[in-house]
């Protein structure tokens, strides 16, 4: 009985009445005194901070020790991850390139829903990933742009940069011939440290870095989009080059003045008709030699 009370006391669970019962006996009174006096004792001070500091020095060294199999698997995982990451970067940062071949037109939609129509034998390159930050693409050949409203939109060509805000325009950049037509909005053409503002309904032809013509246009989109090519006072050689691109043919010119000027259009759907519309006004003859060969000659 008293033994039970003693343990209650030691566990701090004793009541006052029970305490009195316990103190009635000599032996238990001694026990209580021993127990109480012991409670006031202390161990020598423990220097927790010092041990903690020593411990930190030790555990820092310990963390560097990684067992070999674990290390190996870490390296394996790291390698796999690095490879996947590199692949991801490669895919996402890869430039998108769209090319139209001779006698082919291509439509493409850019990430911001701007539309591009590539005329024959042309190429655009742009970056899908950075498109939303920087709307810039490079163009070789000829293309029509219908640009969604937004930040600056750059068409970079060898001959200059065409910048717009939101508009419809055509850029032709072939050899030395740089022809920009603006159908809506405002286009800025930068070339050779010069700058031209091109409002809607205007076009400009730049050859070898010099503006050779600036004219009004009444059409709402370039002729080639309606399957015809339109020219105004263009040298015959330019027209023949376009003819070769649209029909995938070789044209042999057997005439003296290859720079004879032509104004008019030719269709992309019928070679015979196209040749007629070019040759008849210029009083020239033509012959279709075989599937891919045409000769234009003087009477």
């Amino acid at each position: 009985m008293n033994e039970k009370l003693l343990h209650k006391f030691l566990n701090n669970e004793i009541s006052d009445a029970e305490m009195e019962t316990l103190q009635a006996t000599d032996m238990y009174r001694d026990y209580l005194k021993i127990a109480s006096t012991t409670s006031t004792m202390q161990t020598p001070a423990f220097n927790r901070e010092r041990v903690w500091q020593k411990l930190n020095e030790n555990t820092k060294k310990q963390t560097k020790i990684i067992s070999l199999p674990l290390l190996r698997s870490i390296i394996q995982y790291a390698a796999i991850f690095a490879l996947l990451f590199a692949g991801y970067l490669y895919v996402t940062h890869l430039d998108v390139s769209v090319t139209s071949h001779v006698a082919e037109k291509k439509n493409l939609t850019l990430p911001d829903n701007s539309e591009v129509v590539l005329n024959a034998d042309s190429k655009v390159i742009y970056n899908k990933k950075s498109w939303n930050k920087k709307r810039s693409l490079s163009l070789k050949g000829e293309a029509f742009f219908k640009v969604a409203k937004g930040k600056k939109f750059d068409v970079v060509t060898d001959q200059g940069i065409v910048s717009v805000m939101g508009t419809q325009f055509n850029v032709q950049s072939r050899e030395n011939h740089f022809h920009i037509a603006c159908y809506e909005g405002l286009v800025r053409v930068t070339f050779d440290k010069q700058e031209i503002q091109l409002p809607a309904g205007n076009s400009v032809i730049i050859e070898n870095g010099v503006v050779i013509a600036q004219q009004n246009i009444s059409a709402t989109q370039p002729g080639w989009m309606l399957n015809e090519s339109a020219f105004e006072n263009s040298p015959l050689i330019t027209i023949v080059e376009e003819l070769q691109r649209q029909y995938d043919i070789e044209v042999v010119l057997k005439i003296r003045d290859k720079n004879i000027l032509f104004t008019g259009t030719f269709t992309h759907t019928n070679l015979e008709a196209a040749l007629k519309t070019i040759c008849v006004p210029l009083q020239l003859k033509y012959s279709i030699d075989d599937k891919r060969g045409v000769t234009i000659y003087e009477d």
């Binding site: 026990y31 021993i34 004792m41 202390q42 423990f46 963390t63």
Partner: protein
């Protein structure tokens, strides 16, 4: 394997050290009576915990530390006498006591000190964990990996032999 907060997390490891290191230090001191040895063993145990942090769940860390300490203690031979200091008794009650009483008290404490050193290591550890650290039987039983009944027995035996020793001195 289920990922849980294991001891490798710095914040958890720090908390374990703050909460348990003093207790473990006392535990070793009750056994060997050597404060520098106790400090070393505490440090050693926590290093072992860090090394095995991935394998020791947080809930098992306490018993891991006590077990490691007990094992290293058993591997070391040097035992000294357990010498305990007395907490300074403060408060008004002390002034009412007569010099004779205080002298008697001092004498008693000296005798108790000696008697404690002569207890078996098992009795002393359990007894002092309860008396100095205020741990309940259940917790002591858990740490020493014995039953509550066994703790009761050790406590009774400790008190019995302490009383006898003090009477004899």
């Amino acid at each position: 394997m289920i990922e849980e907060d294991n001891v490798c997390k710095d914040s958890i490891y720090n908390k374990l050290f703050q909460n348990l290191s003093t207790s473990i230090y006392n535990f070793i001191y009750f056994k060997c009576g050597d404060s520098s040895q106790a400090e070393d063993l505490v440090q050693e145990a926590f290093i072992k915990l860090w090394e095995n942090c991935a394998k020791v769940p947080q809930a098992k860390a306490k018993s891991f530390l006590y077990t490691v300490c007990n094992n290293s203690f058993l591997n070391e031979i040097a035992h000294k006498k357990v010498v305990l200091n007395y907490a300074e008794k403060t408060g008004p009650s002390i002034n009412k006591q007569t010099p004779e009483y205080l002298l008697e008290e001092k004498e008693f404490e000296k005798k108790l000190q000696k008697a404690l050193a002569n207890l078996t290591e098992g009795q002393r550890t359990a007894f002092l964990m309860n008396r100095i650290e205020g741990k309940k039987y259940r917790e002591i039983a858990e740490i020493l990996d014995i039953s509550v009944k066994a703790v009761e027995k050790r406590m009774s035996q400790a008190l019995e032999s302490l009383r006898k020793e003090i009477k004899n001195i």
